[in-house]
Point group: D3
Chain length 167, copies 6
Amino acid sequence: MEFSHIDKDGKAKMVNVGGKADTKRTAVAYGKVTMRKETLNAIINDEIPKGDVFTVAKVAGIMAAKNTSSIIPMCHNIFLTGVDINFESKIEKEKGIVEIFARVNTIGKTGAEMEALTAVSVAALTLYDMCKSVDKMITIENIYLMEKFGGKSGHWRREDESLHNNS
Amino acid sequence: MEFSHIDKDGKAKMVNVGGKADTKRTAVAYGKVTMRKETLNAIINDEIPKGDVFTVAKVAGIMAAKNTSSIIPMCHNIFLTGVDINFESKIEKEKGIVEIFARVNTIGKTGAEMEALTAVSVAALTLYDMCKSVDKMITIENIYLMEKFGGKSGHWRREDESLHNNS
Amino acid sequence: MEFSHIDKDGKAKMVNVGGKADTKRTAVAYGKVTMRKETLNAIINDEIPKGDVFTVAKVAGIMAAKNTSSIIPMCHNIFLTGVDINFESKIEKEKGIVEIFARVNTIGKTGAEMEALTAVSVAALTLYDMCKSVDKMITIENIYLMEKFGGKSGHWRREDESLHNNS
Amino acid sequence: MEFSHIDKDGKAKMVNVGGKADTKRTAVAYGKVTMRKETLNAIINDEIPKGDVFTVAKVAGIMAAKNTSSIIPMCHNIFLTGVDINFESKIEKEKGIVEIFARVNTIGKTGAEMEALTAVSVAALTLYDMCKSVDKMITIENIYLMEKFGGKSGHWRREDESLHNNS
Amino acid sequence: MEFSHIDKDGKAKMVNVGGKADTKRTAVAYGKVTMRKETLNAIINDEIPKGDVFTVAKVAGIMAAKNTSSIIPMCHNIFLTGVDINFESKIEKEKGIVEIFARVNTIGKTGAEMEALTAVSVAALTLYDMCKSVDKMITIENIYLMEKFGGKSGHWRREDESLHNNS
Amino acid sequence: MEFSHIDKDGKAKMVNVGGKADTKRTAVAYGKVTMRKETLNAIINDEIPKGDVFTVAKVAGIMAAKNTSSIIPMCHNIFLTGVDINFESKIEKEKGIVEIFARVNTIGKTGAEMEALTAVSVAALTLYDMCKSVDKMITIENIYLMEKFGGKSGHWRREDESLHNNS
C-alpha cells in the first residue's frame, strides 16, 4: 500500500508531480445538507428570494476552490480553468435536503479532486451559516468524489452513486 | 421565521453584533470520515507512524478555524482563545472510521460554531487528501454542531447525539 | 502638517493606537459605477434575475472589508461588528449608473474608513468583472468617505455630498 | 447580449476557459486620486522624502494584483509574468492630482484586466490611507481599463482616453 | 518541562488563553542580513535611491506581522496596536550588514513575540529577494527575541545582547 | 551592477519574466535553529513523541512555500511541483541544534529560491513558537540558499557550504 503523500519514513511531504504530463482534468464532488423542512421552505419560497442564499454559498464555494492549496496542506497550487456549483433541493421524509454538485476543471499535472471537495464543503458550511439562526440541527452529510476525468487513471465514477440519489 | 443573515429584502448581509455583550463562548463540532479498513489500518499501524497523518489534519483544521471569516462570507472575524481537535478511530462493519471532534473557545460577541465546523471540515478534507491515492471511496459524513456554551442562548447540546456514536 | 502614517524621518510605519479608547465607530463610503445603459438593463431586467450580480458584488465587498488589513499595508486588523452594502441603480443621461453604499461598524481603537472604502472598491470591481464581457467602457468613479461616527473626532459628514446625487 | 460570467439561468459561475489558447496578454489600467493641494505638496516636497508614500502604494498594488483571484469572486487564478505601477502627480485647478498607471503581463488563457484594475484600486486606497489623517476629502476617481493586448480580441484601446489627461 | 503548545499526549494544540488578562504587551525582535559590501553600497548610495529597498522590506514585514496567525500554525490571531520596523546598515570586515529591529505592540491575552519575529524574518527575506540578482551569498543570521514587556512574566531582555552589536 | 527588481529610477517593480523559457528548476535552502540542549532533548526523547513538533513545522513550511508570493512583495506566483522539508538534530557544544533543509521544485520562468528560503524561515519560526514557552533563547541562524538547478544560470552550489556542517 503506497501513500503518495507520505514518504518512506512516514513523514508528510508534498508530492513531486514534475514528471507528470499536462492534461485536461475534471473532478465532480457531491455533498448533501439536511435541515428542518421549514428552513428549506423559508429559503426557497417567496418571502426569501430564491437564489440569494444559494448565490452566497456558490460564491463561497468558488472562492474556496481557488484557495484550496492554502487550506489543504499537501495540495498543489493549480490553475483552475473553470468552477461550477449547482444546488438541488427537495423535501423528503419530512426533512429539507439540499444537494450540492461542484465541477472543477483544470489543465495540469494533478487533478482537481480536492478543489471540488473543498468547494462542496465550503458551500455546505455557508448554507449552514446562513440558516443556523433558525435551525441548529442542520447536518452536512455524505461529501465524496462522484467522478473524475483525465490524468493517468482516466475516467472514474463512484459505483455506489445511488448514495446521492436517496437521502 | 427570522434569519439573522438575511435582511428585510432577502438580501445577504453581515449581521451587526455591536450591541451584544462580550462573553466566553465554546463550540464543539463533530465529523466522521469513513474509508476502507485497510486504509485506516495503514494509517494507524506500525508502517506508518501513528499521528503523522492526524497531525497534518489537526494543523490544517486549526489554521482553518482561525481563517474561518475569510472562508465563510458572513462570518465575523473573531479572536479565538483556543482550538483543540481530536481524532478517534475504529473499525466497524468492515469500514475504517475516523471521528473528529473540534472544540473552539472565544471571548466575544458571537459564537464560534462556524469556526468549529470549519475546523472539522478541513481536518476531514485533509485526511481525505492524505489518503486519496490509496482509497477513492473515502466519504465525509455527518458534520454538525454537538454542543455550545455561552452567549445569550447559553448551553445547548444536540439531542440525537447518538448519531456520532454509531456509523 | 502631520501624517499619522509617516514617522519623523518620513518612513512609513503602522501607527500605534494602543493609547486610544475603545469606542463604537461607523464609517460609510460611497462609490459610483457607470456603464452602457444596455448593460445595466440586462442586469436588472427579467432575463437576468435581479440581485444575482449584486449579490456576488455584495459578498465580494463584505469579504474584502474583513480582509482590509491584509490588503492595505498600514491598516490595523480590527474586529468588524457589522458590514452592510447596498446598491442603487438608475439610467441617467443615457448611461447606466450603479451607486454603492457600504456601512461598516466596529468597536475599537481605530475607525473603519478603510474597510468601508475597500468594500465599495471591491464591490465595484466585481460589478466590472461580472459585466466586462459585454461592456469594456465601465468606469469606477467617485469613491470617497461619506460619513463617520465615533472616535475622538466624533461625527463627520462630507459637505459636498451632492457629488453622489448627480452623475 | 451574453454575459460570460452568468449562465443560462442567470446564476453566477466561473467561466470555463479550458478551450482557450495560451497567449501573451497585457492589460493597462488607469486611476486618478484627487486631494487638497497641500496634501500632495506634503507628499512630494522635501519634508517627506519623495517616493515613500508612492512606494508603499506600489507595493500594495503589486501584491493585490497577484491576489486578485482571492478578492474578485469569478476571476481565474493566473500566473502574472510582470506587474508595474507608476504614479504621475500635478497640481491642477487648486487640487492635487495623482494619476496611477498599472501594467500587468500574463501568459495564459484569460486576460489580466481585473488584475490591472485591482492594482490601481488598491494603490489608490493605500494613498488614501497614508494621507487620510490630514485630508478627509480625498476622492478616488475614474478607474478604468485603458488598453489591452493579446487574446482572441487582440489590441483594444479606450477611445475617450482624454478622460485621463484632464481632471 | 512543560510545553504550552503540546498536550499531555504530545499532540499539538492551540493553547487556550481565555483565562489570561488583557494587558499591554510589546515584543522587540532582531535580525541580521549579511551581503557583499558592493551590494549594500548599491542599495544605500546615490544610484539607488536610499530607502526604496528598505521601504519594500518594511511594508512586507508589517504585513507579515499582521498575518502571523495565518503563517504560524499555533499562533493566536491577535489585534496589533502598532508595528514598527527599522534598519541599520554598516560595512564591517568587508561585508555589508543590515540589522533589522521590529517592535510590535498589542493589548491582549498573549504576547506578540511571534509577530515581531515574523516581521523581522519577512523583512529579511524581502531584502534577500530584492538583491538576489546581484548577490547569491546573502545570508540571514541571528534572528531572535531581544526584549518583551507586559503579560504575567513582565519585562524580559536577552542577556547576551552583544550578539546583535557585533557581526 | 544591475538589480532585476529595481527599475531605472530606482523604484521597485515586479520583473517581467514573460520572455523566459519554461524549465524545470529546483532550489534548496538551509537554516539552523539553536536552543538549550534540554529543549531539544524534550522534543526528541520519549516523553514528547518524536516528529510531532517537526511535523507541525514541516506543514507550516510547506504551506508558506506555496504562499510565498503573498508574503514577499516582488515574488511571482508560481506553480510548485513539489516541496520537501527535512530536519536533522544534534547536541553540539552544549547546545541543541536543528538543521532545516527545504527542497522546492517548479517548472516555469523563474526559480524557486524564495519559496525554499521562505519554507525554511517559517519552519524555523514554527519550531521557535512550539518551544518558546520553555526556552526564550532560541535563535534562528544562517538561513541561505544552498543550491539551485535549472534556468539560464544552470547549476549553482554555495561554496562555503561548510557553514551548515558546523555550528
